[in-house]
Amino acid sequence: MPFIPHTPDDVQVMLAEIGAESIEDLFDEIPGELRVNELDGVPEGVSEMEMLGLMSARAAADVAGVCFIGAGCYDHHIPAAVWDLTARGEFMTAYTPYQAEASQGTLQLIYEYQSMMAALTGMDVSNASVYDGASGLGEAALMAMRANKKIKSRTILIAETVHPFYRETAQNIARHQGVEFKTIPVAANGLVDMSALDEVGEVTAVVVQQPNFFGLLEDVDAMTDWAGERGAFLIAVVNPLSLALLKPPGSWGSEGADIVCGDGQPLGIPMASGGPSFGFLCCRDKLVRQMPGRIIGRTEDLEGQPGFTLTLQAREQHIRRGKATSNICTNQGLLVTAATIHMSLMGACGLKQVAERCVAQTHKLVTALVSIPGVEERFCGPFFHERVLNLPRNSETVVSMLLEHGILGGLPLGEHYPGMEDALLVCATEKRTAGEIEHYRSALQMCLES
């Protein structure tokens, strides 16, 4: 019996103690007609060896080549120590730290994480994570709605240059509470169309992403000030890695952003088909009681020694039930563990160097690809590590052809932005080598010539 340690003798001893004849008897309160016996849809059990044989074959089948896709998930190097430590049973097989004294490892680590995220974003506080960047944006919107008492409207402005999946997810989360999202269109230069803002009425919050979905740098100072002047919250969606290089949301405009969210994947989390990763959520001190999710605080034990514990639990569903700030319970603890270790290893300098190298490699990639006749940059502003290219033909077709050359060429944008059927979003992280870039260039040239 896999994973069940009972011997036949054990079962007899236990049944005798209980005073039951058989295990079946223990289910005697369940109405007979509810009892099932067949599970035909579940295959017969196999050994770990056979299971791993099957899974290995499937994993190997998907090895696709060199990755030039970004779009919210990035192929960064992760120091070997990160997951060697994260996968320790003491971290991986613990529950939520409800018994603080027996969970100081996890608790202190999350406190350190909160501190790092606050430092990175330039905000005062951070929670202990939400599910992912996209759902985190939904939580941020609801949080703004609760916290911004000055504005009566239930409208949130969201830039069309925010990741399409983030916009979709946030709307699907927030709409049940009557939140309405209005989209600020994208201008021809790939940035938020600031002129469209003039027609906007009262809004609770404005959502802007930096770098935006196209990899471009928005004029976040202007956006932040615009929001501030109207009493709207500025919700920033950011790539945490970029913050080692770019101005942090806490310093945007004259007052800074109010709420910052995003996905932690670039901080030591493997792409792993997109999950698990984690969403982070940071804000100003004064908003902390509207923050969803867990928060760790430092306190003292009865001998006066420092220690860590879950705090502000009155915000949470297990205490406040229907009146909680969110229903979130289990979050993404283990990924936060990885990210904390990752940030410790990289330090501010290390992250900055990675960020700089990403910019440099993307620059090289773009230079190489636009050397091919018919391939052009679609937008020209400053960018981080992603870039939209116009191809001389349908980009989805080209991406399929590139697969034969072992190249994951990027994300075709037609599905997300009508009219961009020939556009391709490409990305080069610090891992991409000159050889790989040249390989991409020559493969693309072949595809386009054929």
């Binding site: 009972h6 009892r35 998930c73 999946f165 902390v288 705090t311 979130i328 697969l403």
Partner: protein, 487 residues
């Protein structure tokens, strides 16, 4: 010697770093205007690689975990997390996959998801399963959003209330509210079953649905479940099954047969994926016929052995996307690996042995003089103990028992939940623990009971042998210290 609690920040020094992790920089990017650049570096720790490894290795040792201890946390299903499943999800091919890789180079991964969808359909009896929810609570949200979409699609717009038994987990009412519903709580009778008279009085044209677990968080199986589902269905409401307790009945009862229309499962409980110190989890949703059109995307479809993503184009009535990519893919792979190793025989045994362990423990504890909250009921995979008597007679609370248990090297059961039972423990041993471990737990509790009589201070000031003594939660909340600052 107590290990100290220096944070990673305090170990740092200006200019120190894990230098093997420094990649050659590309230099300050010429294309980015000065005004967009960061002026002051973020205050991250500056530490060597050895310092990082040592710090987090030692921190980890300050945790209890399944790998170290018996961890009978009720409603959490702290069972063994198979290392083989971790190995499967950690295969380079899976870890290195970009979520937006074309389907042509994703067949292995998609096949895994498809197989898992099918297995989960079978064990719950549901017609369709979507794997996207990233934890139980998100599954609840998605489930209730589907209930809402269903009523709305029918033009049945007056239904604005969700019923919830008062023993329910906090996520249930919180979810209902997030989905724009009011919550009405329904009481239990003395035996722990839902008070059906109260339920009948509560249902009406305003009822969108009822959320409940079965077995309930009181550790008993709701015997009148078919009557309850009849009542709710007759009133036009739908039934939501909170699958957090599915471990109790896995392979024994299918939620569909009890009359549930929609459910979530906690794969990080029933399907043995690790809890990670608070996540990640996965909370796939399953639905019956009526809610099929509303399932969230992405899902995986199959034709002629070719797998593909199903999106809103295929499922136009879907409630849409609730995560950036495919939810917690790595957890889904672990759950599949576990299911494959268990197989159908193994599935049947989960509920059986989880129940055997709980009933054995309940019986032994009762004979040892502890008070069961529902002494006349069968325990399911978990059961409730109450320390009301001890609190009254000896001045020691359930919390004191819990803290003292830690000194015995056993994680405390869930305390003060369900809220309606005073001074309680919710105890869930799971099927993967041995008889000897259960006996050791009884001995520990009995020893603490004796201490409570002879030396109650020992409990009141517990724990004694952990990295910290009892912590001051009030101070934590009053004098908020949420981020490290150089002092």
């Amino acid at each position: 010697m107590k290990k100290n609690a220096a944070t990673i920040f305090e170990l740092g020094k200006t200019g120190r770093g894990a230098m093997a992790q420094r990649v050659p920089s590309g230099g300050t990017p010429a294309n980015i205007p000065e005004s967009q650049l960061r002026k002051v570096q973020p205050a991250l720790p500056e530490v060597s690689e050895l310092q990082v490894v040592r710090h987090y290795t030692n921190l980890s040792a300050k945790n209890f975990s399944i790998d170290n201890q018996f961890y009978p946390l009720g409603s959490c299903t702290m069972k063994y997390n198979p290392r083989g499943a971790h190995g499967a999800a950690s295969l380079p091919g899976f870890l290195g996959r970009h979520p937006l890789a074309p389907e042509a180079v994703s067949q292995g991964f998609l096949a895994c998801l498809y197989d898992l969808q099918e297995i989960l359909k079978d064990v719950t009896g549901m017609q369709g399963v979507s794997l996207t929810p990233m934890a139980g609570a998100q599954g609840e949200f998605i489930g209730v959003a589907m209930i809402r979409a269903y009523h709305e699609a029918r033009g049945d717009l007056e239904r604005n209330e969700i019923l919830v038994p008062n023993a329910a987990h906090g996520t249930n009412p919180a979810t209902a509210v997030m989905c724009g519903y009011k919550v009405a709580e329904v009481g239990l009778d003395a035996s722990g079953d839902v008070d059906t008279e109260a339920l009948k009085a509560a249902v009406g044209p305003q009822t969108a649905g009822l959320m409940m677990t079965n077995p309930s968080t009181c550790g008993v199986f709701e015997r009148r479940i078919r009557e309850i589902s009849g009542v709710v269905h007759d009133a036009g409401g739908l039934l939501y099954y909170d699958g957090a307790n599915l471990n109790a009945i896995l392979g024994k009862v299918k939620p569909s047969d009890m009359g549930f229309d929609v459910l979530h499962m906690n794969l990080h409980k029933t399907f043995a994926t690790p809890h990670g110190g608070g996540g990640p989890g996965a909370g796939p949703v399953g639905v019956g016929e009526r809610l099929l059109p509303y399932l969230p995307v992405p899902m995986v479809g199959e034709r002629d052995g070719v797998y593909r993503w199903m999106t809103e184009k295929d499922l136009p009535q879907s409630i849409g996307r609730l995560s950036c990519f495919m939810g917690n893919a790595g957890i889904l792979l672990r759950a599949l690996a576990y299911a494959l190793m268990l197989g159908r025989e193994g599935m049947h045994r989960v509920g059986e042995y989880a129940t055997l362990n709980a009933n054995y423990l309940a019986s032994r504890l009762e004979k040892a003089g502890f008070e069961l909250a529902y002494p006349d009921r069968r325990a399911t995979h978990e059961f409730v103990l109450t320390f009301s008597k001890q609190a009254k007679s000896m001045g020691v609370t359930a919390m004191d028992f819990a803290k003292r248990l830690l000194d015995y090297g056993i994680h405390a059961p869930t305390t003060y939940f369900p809220m309606l039972i005073a001074e309680c423990f919710l105890i869930e041993p799971t099927e993967t623990e041995t008889l000897e471990e259960l006996d050791a737990f009884v001995s520990a509790l009995a020893a603490i009971q004796r201490e409570a009589q002879s030396d109650p201070e020992r409990l009141l000031s517990a724990p004694h042998d952990l990295p910290v003594r009892r912590l001051d939660d009030v101070k934590a909340a009053r004098e908020l210290d949420l981020v490290w600052r150089a002092r």
